[in-house]
């Protein structure tokens, strides 16, 4: 049997429970407006710290998600920014190649360079065009900047090109001024470095200033005349008083080239115009600008002439209409009265009184008819 304290304890619990239950029922049955106002009051007072805490947590979560989004956007932008310069460079190279293909007068095959990971990549290149596209051994390979090399062997869809960096590469060349001729070969000495060319066999009496452009001479039957090979950067050595050897900065870099043109036509034509120097390119650009401006002025003149023709036609029609209205009606005597006997005509307009435009309009009307 429960003691008196236990009974009061149980009674107190029951009372508390019933009171809470009654209050809950009151909360349930009160009009929603009152309930909402009570809830608002509680949120603004007693629960305000908890709501503030939850708001901070939600802000933290939102900030974290926003931070993730921003980080992702930044990473994407960085990734795009990394690729943009290479895309621009490739775009520029493709434009140059397209420009070169327009300037080339001989037949060619465009090919992609399939770079390999080997250390010898750059001495020989794997090209994406082969005999099925008309490529054959000893076809010259050029880039917009100049000579790359020559096709060494061909497959059906691919071919191997030997570049100027190959130890066996040779090309007969001369300076653009024409004062020296020789043979260009890769430099294999440690002093000049492997990435340079040598302009050998230049007669001792001929001196080539630094900065001279060296072109292929067309001798030997492999390379056409006029392809840039390199630019003289200095003297390497002089041999026994009969030969000078110059160092050349290559015109084209096989290691970084992505697209090339393979010249499949016989090397008979002069390709110097296809590889203009910088000054010549500038002149071509200015010439094209002048031509564009000239074309614009011609078009403007044509527009003005057309407008003048339209005006004269309109004036001629107005004059013809005026003459028709001034003519006698049908059934009237056909004899044209003399001007002196004619009845006084209505006063003409000031424009009709001017004789010169009348002559010009009639003349133009005749010419139009």
């Amino acid at each position: 049997m429960a003691s008196a304290s236990d009974r009061s304890y149980t009674r107190r619990d029951t009372v508390l429970f019933l009171v809470c239950l009654a209050l809950s029922i009151v909360g349930l049955v009160v009009p929603p407006g009152i309930g909402l106002s009570v809830a608002d009051t509680l949120r603004e007072t007693a629960l305000a710290p908890l709501v503030w805490l939850q708001a901070r947590a939600q802000e933290g979560r939102t900030s974290r998600e926003r931070f993730r989004e921003l980080t992702a956007q930044r990473d994407s932008s960085a990734y795009l920014a990394q690729g943009l310069p290479s895309l621009l460079a490739e775009n520029e190279r493709l434009r140059q190649l397209l420009s070169l293909s327009r300037r080339l007068s001989s037949a060619y095959v465009a090919a992609e360079v399939l770079h390999q990971s080997q250390a010898t990549d750059g001495r020989t290149l794997l090209l994406s065009a082969g005999s099925s596209q008309g490529v054959s051994p000893f076809d010259p390979v050029v880039a917009p900047e100049g000579l790359i090399g020559v096709v060494l062997s061909t497959g059906a869809r691919t071919s191997i090109a030997m570049t100027w960096a190959h130890p066996e590469f040779r090309v007969s060349a001369f300076t653009v001024t024409g004062n020296a001729a020789g043979v260009v070969a890769p430099s294999l000495s440690a002093t000049t470095g492997e990435g340079a060319l040598e302009f050998r066999g230049v007669p001792y009496r001929d001196s080539v200033p630094a900065g001279s452009l060296v072109l292929s001479s067309g001798l030997g039957g492999v390379y056409p005349k006029g392809i840039p090979v390199g630019t003289v950067t200095g003297l390497v050595r002089e041999q026994a008083g009969w030969e000078r050897v110059y160092r050349l900065l290559p015109a084209a870099n096989p290691g970084s080239v992505g697209h090339v043109l393979i010249l499949v036509a016989p090397p008979s034509s002069d390709l110097a115009k296809a590889f203009p120097s910088d000054s010549l390119l500038e002149a071509l650009r200015l010439d094209s600008l002048l031509r564009a401006r000239r074309a614009d002025s011609l078009a403007q003149a044509a527009r003005e002439v057309a407008a003048a023709r339209r005006d004269s036609i309109a004036r001629a029609r107005r004059r013809a209409a005026a003459r028709d209205s001034a003519a006698p009606p049908a059934g009237a005597p056909t004899a044209t009265p003399a001007p002196a006997q004619a009845p006084p005509a209505p006063k003409p307009s000031p424009a009709a009184q001017t004789p010169a435009p009348v002559r010009r309009d009639s003349a133009r009307g005749d010419s139009i008819r």
Partner: protein
């Protein structure tokens, strides 16, 4: 019940931590509908070591706060939490031993019953009622029970809980 075995201040500290977790950690967790209900866990832990009347009062206060924050049906939270708090305290005094797994499971069951009360009193339709009681409420009960297990293991001395299974 041995309410005097644990320090009241320590228990109050745990309850305060649970309240902070409810309003600061819960919004950051995964789905809010299946995250542990820390305040309800605190209510049950409090009810397990309190008299039924005090547990009912605590439940009523928690219900008031719940209704103030989600006033979809004012009064439903009060009644549900009052009943659950009172029954939890009374049932624990009558049936349960100080067993950690039983206590954790009791928390989960109590949460499901609380949701049942609130949905019935809130006038939820048949389909939402079925979905809540079969999907979301069990998941929330499981998460809350799991967290209750962690809390009871961490603060078993304060809550005077035995670890025998």
């Amino acid at each position: 019940m041995m309410p005097t075995r644990a320090n009241r201040l320590q228990v109050a500290l745990v309850l305060l931590i649970l309240v902070v977790l409810q309003f600061y950690l819960r919004p950051r967790l995964w789905g809010p509908r299946v995250s542990p209900d820390f305040v309800f866990l605190g209510l049950i832990l409090f009810a397990l070591r309190s008299s039924p009347g005090v547990a009912a009062l605590a439940g009523f206060l928690v219900g008031v706060a719940t209704d103030a924050l989600t006033p979809a049906r004012f009064g439903a939270g009060m009644m549900a939490h009052t009943v659950v708090g009172y029954v939890a305290s009374w049932a624990r005094a009558v049936f349960f031993a100080d067993n950690i797994l039983v206590n954790a499971a009791f928390v989960g069951v109590a949460l499901w019953v609380r949701d049942l009360f609130m949905l019935l009193l809130g006038g939820a339709g048949d389909r939402p009622l079925f979905t809540e009681l079969t999907v979301y409420s069990p998941l929330e009960a499981l998460a809350t029970a799991a967290f209750a297990l962690l809390v009871l293991m961490a603060f078993r001395q304060w809550f005077a809980i035995r670890l025998d299974v």
